[in-house]
Amino acid sequence: MIAARFSDKLERCPERPFLLSPNSASNYADFFEHCRKLASGLRNLKGSRLACYMADSTELVAVMLAAGMSGKSLLMLNRDFAYQQLPSLLTRYNVDVIISDSVPEVELPATFLDMEALEELAYAEPIQEYIDGEILILTSGTTGDPKCARYTWADLFAQVNERHAPQDERWLLAYRLNHFAGLQMLVHVLENGSTLVMSRSKRVAQALQTMLEFSVTHVSSTPTFWRYALATLPETDHRLNLKHITLGSEPVSSYLLEQLQHKFPKARIVHIYASTEAGSCVSVSDMRPGLPISVLHRDEGSEVQFKVVEDELYIKSAHGMRGYAGANEILKKNTEGWLATGDLVRVEDDRILFMGRRSETINVGGVKVHPLEVENIISALSGVKLVRAFGQENPVVGEIVAVEVVANDNYSEHDVEESIREACLRLTRHARPRSINFVDTIETNNLKLKRQ
């Protein structure tokens, strides 16, 4: 599968850059050759399941694609995991060999392969026959322990619409490769023959610098990423010439869509709904938040169907993962194949609007409040750069709505707080923030706001 995608590019655009980063550049032809050699080495390793514990890099992409061609199954470990977490994960998922860019300071229940050993493997004879491998992705674990979703590379490529990308189409890798969205990005680039640009780090300021340095034209990231980016980019800075923006992993507000359109008038802006378990489900490009209600009326045989039950969005997807890899990991699908997404929605006119994650609902004296409805009001205020709403434990009503705010420069915190109080008067009394704190920055997890 991977080799076939490369072969196609070798015929069409062998010299086109496949991966660009501040310290490396590889075209399709060279990178494929490197992956073939590495795949040959990986195939000779004992055991069927590998894990990689590496920071995003060209080497990591090479390992991923080589494993995928060698027929090995590859577990993508988050490089932010502590060394102490590795043994139990390797045991749980029956990993035979772990590849890492650093030497873990713990005893591991698998053969360890460092980058030097990997380099030696890469000088083996190029692989001739390709076997499609599996890739295992750990979920973010926002609703409990992470689970491990199992995909074949063919499954991932099947979710991408093939088209021939123009020579100058360059995508920023904003997500991490160990996440489903990052993996989708890699597959999308390889399928279409475009170029993937990797930043030195996932910090927004660094990503913006990389986008300028490498003339990035296409970006797929979260609304939180863009809120940070818009807050960082001066109003007068028009150097970024974006042609396409994809928003995903979090609900998008109409205010953010308007801001992006204003900042990048030539960009096509779409938002997508996807999950690690169900895969890519729908793409919306009408510049309105939420999903069109028409998705609720899709035929039985549709690739992806949607329904709303008790304010929660359910999905029935013909693609998506094969299953979980862990013995005790069970997907909460009903007998008809419907998956509860955990996303709370309300249907308003012709739209399905997202209210937030069920797990992030704030219970204020028995009344459910969704952080998004609070954030959407506050983030539209001129003195507010960033905002995060969350439930704060309270002895009187169980939880109160608390917000953390990063104020824009040249605004006094007192004035911003007054404007927040006033704007939130339109919310029900339970939903109004009872605690407002000003902070220098707001923590994110994989470019999403952390609300718990």
Binding site: V364, G365, Q392, S435
Partner: protein, 78 residues
Amino acid sequence: MSKELEVIEMIKTILKHQAMPEAEVAMSSDLYDDGIGLDSLCVAELSAMLEKAYGNDPYTSKIMPRTVSDIISFYGDT
């Protein structure tokens, strides 16, 4: 500012947040229905404000003060 005045100021701020009419708040004022009229949401906010300002608050300690004076006494005792 003394703690008495700080607490009185907090209560006035909460009333303002709720767009409630400005009330006379004194040390002996009843905090709830028969006095200032703080309801559970106002009290929740007062609890959060006291906790933020002083590190603890009577409500978290399962004490239900009736008056401003009771709140001050809580801090006097701790």
